[in-house]
Amino acid sequence: MNECPERNPKLAWREIDGEIVIISPEDSQVHELNETASLIWKYSDGIRSCKEIAAELAAEFDVSLEVARDDVAQLVKALEEKRLLFVAAAVEG
């Protein structure tokens, strides 16, 4: 949960009606994120940790921190596998 996800800087994206649409210029793929994944995407600035993003998610969607952490872990992994996000370990100190 200390990792800091960061959006792939090569991607073009826009928010439409509260949800994110991403174009991957390299392969012209279009990705659409649901509401939860969209929130994670917006907070994935390379500075916030997954733990901090989960806290934002819990507040936004009125779910427990435990549920939010599970969601963030799963979705960050899925987005990382699609190379939409990169995940770096948080810098200590």
Partner: protein, 259 residues
Amino acid sequence: MLVPIWKPDSERPFRISIGSIPFSLFIPQEVLLRQALTRYREFTADSDTGLPIFLRPGSGTEPESETFSYDLDGASLVLRRSAAEFRGVQHEYALDSLLRILLTVVLLPKRGFLLHAATVVRDGLAYVFAGRSGAGKSTVASLSPAGSVLTDEISLLRFTDGRWQAHGTPFWGEFRARGRNQHYPLAGVYSLVQAPEDRVQSISKKEILRALLPCVLFFTGEKRANEALLHTVLEMIEQVPFWRLHFRRDARFWEAVTS
């Protein structure tokens, strides 16, 4: 039409305009020039301010000053700030393909793009029917009144004169017509879906984008260009009615479209 005698170093370009964007084609090969004069006859223009396009032999490029380049089956396009080069063009089809690719790049900052779509004009308004190969664009064109089809394959949509308009293009599919260099305000854009009934369906912005983006001709992997494309397409979606058209591949679909 008289075909001018062409010399390899002639200073007389063949001037055309597509989507209100002028080009000056410098074609040293006489056969290719004759083919271009025929193919783009309806798009001949007087403007001497068009982007020069120089057709050159060979395929070498000097990458240091180019702003965009694209290779296509032995031919290539290099776009620089004040001119474009088409290299290794052996036939009119390669010329046509490179011209389409160049247009996609030049159109983008001018709030326009090319779309796999047939466009039909009724009562002074353009109805645009978008879809990939096999979706029914040529069928829509063939089921529309004679003389009403602006294109059956590649539509040029651009914000001009304060509104979104469909411009005629010389890029045709099965109809193989020469096209018309005219433009009309958009009545609506319809995403084609073959179905056992004719009906139009309202869809969300995301669904529109999902339907539209795969139909946009786009050839660059550059992030800023893709961002600009998203911006331009979304801008059009905000201003132009968009529908999913379920149709049976017969002329009755017009009743659903115009009702």
